[in-house]
């Protein structure tokens, strides 16, 4: 159906508005009219005209998931910001936490709205599948509802009680509420994960109580890998979205105070995004490993089958994300720390070259589409040179190196404009440099050696060792640098609000990359089930049992990303509308605001503003 729509759009742009209006008007009644079977009790599928039931579920589910990722990721770092503000006494962290929570509270209801729409469409369009899943997971549906009530009540208290619980024991209780908000949010995330992962990696359900059956289905092989991967990815998404919000506000800032604030907020958002991005490839690797262990065929479908080119696109998106994040760090060093441009030019150039080389290797396809003549010249579909870089051993190596380089960018930014005062700093830096070289050599050596050992040895020992080495560097360097900088002397003060406009665009780019990545991998996860609703258990016998080609899927992903960006922009606009009006009413133009007195973008807390 969507193909017809696209043809129509291509032929007559004027039909766009008519199609949208007609589809909107027809969807609801059409669900009931387009049933596959006349017998009410035996309907397995219902279609939706123009869009198609599968595409409609795809769009709504994707938007729900992206919004959910945002509302589950933001409370984690909003709460951490609040704790930092509480412990350090720096009110700006408390304001930032409140600003994050403000975005959260309005996004929360939109997420629930899309969840409700998704449920109705699933019940209408896929009644047989939903009946099957309800039969297995009914107890967890109940737990999910209860958690939702608890989460909502806690969020209300957390948000509306911010000013009332800003001091003393009230603040302690408020922080406890924030903690509970995250606990409930975590369980709200992992319960639906069990439904989706059961579809991908079902286990046999033995006889037993409803609870025992639901629990057996919940504890399926990919449940925890997906839980961990999504938890980290939600933090990344939340961080980059908040960064993009700050970037847009920075671009449209009217005065220096506003620019300073949003420059700082953009830095925090980017930092949170990178913080989550560094361990994310490892979580993804664990998930893929579990998929291979569960069902090798599914793993092959993903990595070597019709989805293999998807991972080239994934490499491109991750590569741009790494480049964008690093670029923002580098701009931060050269624009926020006066006089540092010459000092850091060479290291930045070196890191850029390494990142580009790594990206080139990561994006190298394993096999090429070639004519018979070309294939004969190459000696097969594997290019003699590129084929070497197209294999997993090379890709794992470069992804680890990119993580290392990005971490170095962050360390460089962290240390910029500061001079260590502790006596052992020189030794510690020498040790860190030696460790870095050793880690790089070890990662590359394991990658090269990985070509000469069986795949199972490489996957189980070499790749995990590479990950272990990089994680060791990340943890060790963070601890050592933190200890060195604790008593460091600031030689050059950081100047906020001096970033060029392209910094704002790079923050937006990073957010778009993360959203695209999530849509891409959602398609991968869903397509890996091929023609099964529940892999190997319940076959998809609808007209949409096929998985569309990557180009068609990418067009939908791009559309979903655009819709999501527009929804988020609308939510943010609504969330800050009241504060802007209040600021105008009080006679404080943005240009006239004093430092720290920025209710519209600093959480809108007059009490706190007065205190700071």
């Amino acid at each position: 159906m969507i193909e017809q729509l696209i043809r129509l759009l291509a032929n007559s742009p004027a039909a766009v508005a008519a199609c949208v209006a007609a589809a909107g008007a027809l969807i609801a009644p059409a669900i009931g009219l387009a049933a596959d079977s006349g017998a009410a009790g035996a309907v397995a599928y219902r279609d939706v005209p123009f869009v198609g039931s599968r595409n409609l579920v795809w769009i709504i589910a994707q938007l729900h998931l992206l919004l959910a990722g945002f509302v589950l990721g933001v409370p984690i770092f909003a709460w951490l910001c609040e704790v930092v503000g509480w412990r350090s006494g720096e009110k700006r962290y408390d304001k930032l936490a409140k600003e994050f929570t403000k975005l959260l509270s309005s996004a929360y209801s939109t997420t629930a709205l899309f969840g409700g729409i998704l449920l109705f469409i699933l019940i209408g369009a896929y009644p047989k599948l939903m009946a099957y899943l309800s039969d297995i997971f009914f107890p967890s549906f109940m737990v999910y509802c209860a958690l939702f009530l608890l989460e909502t009540a806690t969020l209300y208290m957390y948000w509306y009680g911010w000013d009332a619980m800003s001091e003393g024991r009230g603040k302690v209780f408020h922080i406890f509420l924030g903690f509970m908000l995250n606990v409930f949010a975590f369980f709200i995330m992992i319960i639906p994960n069990s439904w989706a992962t059961f579809q991908a990696s079902p286990v046999v359900i033995a006889e037993g109580s409803d609870l025992a059956r639901a629990w057996a289905a919940t504890w399926n092989p990919t449940w925890w890998p997906v839980n961990i991967h999504r938890l980290i990815a939600n933090v990344v998404l939340g961080g980059y979205i908040c960064g993009a919000y700050a970037g847009i506000r920075y671009l449209s800032a009217k005065g220096p105070e506003e620019r300073e604030h949003y420059d700082w907020m953009g830095y925090v958002g980017n930092f949170i995004g990178v913080f989550g991005l560094l361990p994310l490839p490892f979580a993804g690797y664990w998930l893929m490993r579990e998929i291979y262990q569960y069902n090798q065929q599914m793993g092959i479908t993903l990595m070597g089958g019709f989805l293999s080119w998807l991972f080239i696109l994934q490499a491109m998106l991750i590569g741009v994300l790494f480049l964008g994040s690093n670029y923002y760090f580098w701009m931060g060093i050269t624009h926020r720390i006066p006089g540092s441009e010459a000092q850091y030019k060479k290291p930045i150039l070196t890191m850029l070259v390494i990142l580009l080389l790594c990206l080139g290797v990561w994006m190298t396809p394993h096999s090429l589409v070639a004519s018979l003549e070309e294939a004969q010249k190459m000696g097969g579909t594997h290019h003699p040179l590129l084929g070497v870089f197209g294999v997993m051993s090379a890709k794992m190596t470069v992804s680890n190196l990119m993580v290392l380089v990005t971490f170095m960018s962050f360390l460089m930014y962290w240390q910029a404009g500061k001079q260590a005062t502790v006596g052992w700093a020189r030794v510690a830096k020498a040790v860190m440099n030696a460790l870095l070289v050793l880690a790089g050599v070890a990662v590359i050596s394991l990658g090269v050696y990985g070509y000469f050992v069986p795949a199972i040895i490489r996957i189980n020992y070499f790749s995990t060792s590479q990950v272990g080495i990089v994680l060791f560097v990340l943890v060790t360097f963070t601890l050592l640098t933190s200890a060195i900088l604790k008593s460091a002397k600031t030689t050059t003060e950081m100047v906020w609000g001096k970033m060029p406009p392209r910094a704002g665009y790079s923050l937006v780019l990073n957010a778009v990359m993360v959203v695209l990545l999530m849509t891409l991998m959602g398609y991968a996860r869903s397509s890996s089930r091929v023609h099964w609703h529940v892999y190997g258990v319940m076959r998809d016998s609808s007209q949409y049992a096929f998985s569309p080609a990557l180009g068609y899927a990418a067009a939908l992903m791009a559309a979903n990303t655009f819709f999501f960006c527009m929804i988020v922009a609308f939510i943010f606009w609504v969330a800050t509308m009241g504060d802007k009006a209040k600021a105008g009413k009080d006679g404080h133009g943005k240009d006239e605001m004093g430092h720290g007195a920025l209710p519209a973008m600093a959480g809108g807390s007059p009490t706190l503003d007065k205190q700071s």
């Binding site: 193909e3 696209i6 043809r7 759009l9 291509a10 099957y132 039969d135 079902p202 286990v203 046999v204 359900i205 033995a206 006889e207 037993g208 057996a216 847009i248 671009l251 449209s252 262990q293 569960y294 065929q297 479908t301 089958g305 019709f306 080119w309 080239i312 696109l313 491109m316 998106l317 589409v369 704002g504 665009y505 937006v508 780019l509 778009v512 695209l516 397509s527 091929v530 023609h531 190997g536 258990v537 076959r539 998809d540 016998s541 049992a545 096929f546 998985s547 569309p548 080609a549 990557l550 180009g551 068609y552 990418a554 067009a555 992903m557 791009a558 990303t561 655009f562 960006c565 922009a569």
Partner: protein, 207 residues
């Protein structure tokens, strides 16, 4: 004009619109939208430039019992059921496997009698199997064997007999199940199996 070309044209027009916005519009928010449009359009164009492969579902296979002439035919159907509707391969492997959660079934048709296998499938708790593949006391396997003849798997007697035929063939044993034992649709079952349905078997092609 192919669908890919049409999508490429849409992608190009999205990129073009974004460029026009960036060139001629001053509003910061609209400029950001234009920038996002360029990024999304370029992403779509790159995705359209790689090989386009859709994954089509294999044809659903209906098994006509009347067409089953030999025990080997039954074993062939049993193999398909083993890897699809029967869900056996979700837990069991045929040959050593690190990922198998339950006993390896290689050679099981030679070790166990046909009746015992039938009982194991339809009354799985009659005897409890324990895992001895480690030192110390034997442990229970991570997954409990379900009743194969009840929902949600719900294999019919015909299907169970076919699986037994496959397990025997795979173990190099002579197949002791005969096509004459199969129940024709509509006929009264000779040996009732609890909850089993004797209907036309529909299975998917094994991967």
């Amino acid at each position: 004009m192919s669908e890919v070309v049409k999508l490429q044209l849409i992608g190009l027009s999205v990129v073009g619109t974004g460029i026009i916005i960036l060139l001629f519009i001053q509003s910061k928010f609209l400029r950001v939208i234009g920038f996002v449009a360029i990024v999304l359009g370029l992403f779509s164009l790159v995705a359209l430039a790689v090989p386009q492969m859709a994954s089509l579902p294999p044809a659903e296979e209906s098994i006509d019992i009347a067409s089953i002439k030999t025990p080997a035919d039954m074993a062939s159907i049993g193999q398909k059921i083993f890897f699809s509707k029967g869900q056996c391969a979700l837990c069991h492997s045929i040959g050593p496997s690190e990922s198998a959660r339950c006993p390896d079934l290689k050679g099981i048709g030679a070790k166990l009698s046909r009746d015992f296998i039938f009982e194991s499938l339809t009354q799985p708790q009659a005897y409890i199997y324990l895992d001895y593949r480690h030192e110390g006391l034997p442990k229970e396997y991570p997954a409990r064997m379900p009743y194969i003849n009840k929902n949600p798997i719900g294999l019919s007697k015909n299907e169970i007999l076919s699986v037994i035929a496959f397990l025997q063939q795979m173990s190099g044993e002579p197949i002791s199940v005969n096509p004459s034992e199969l129940e024709m649709p509509g006929a009264a079952p000779a040996a009732p199996v609890k909850s089993a349905q004797s209907e036309t078997v529909t299975v998917a092609q094994a991967h």
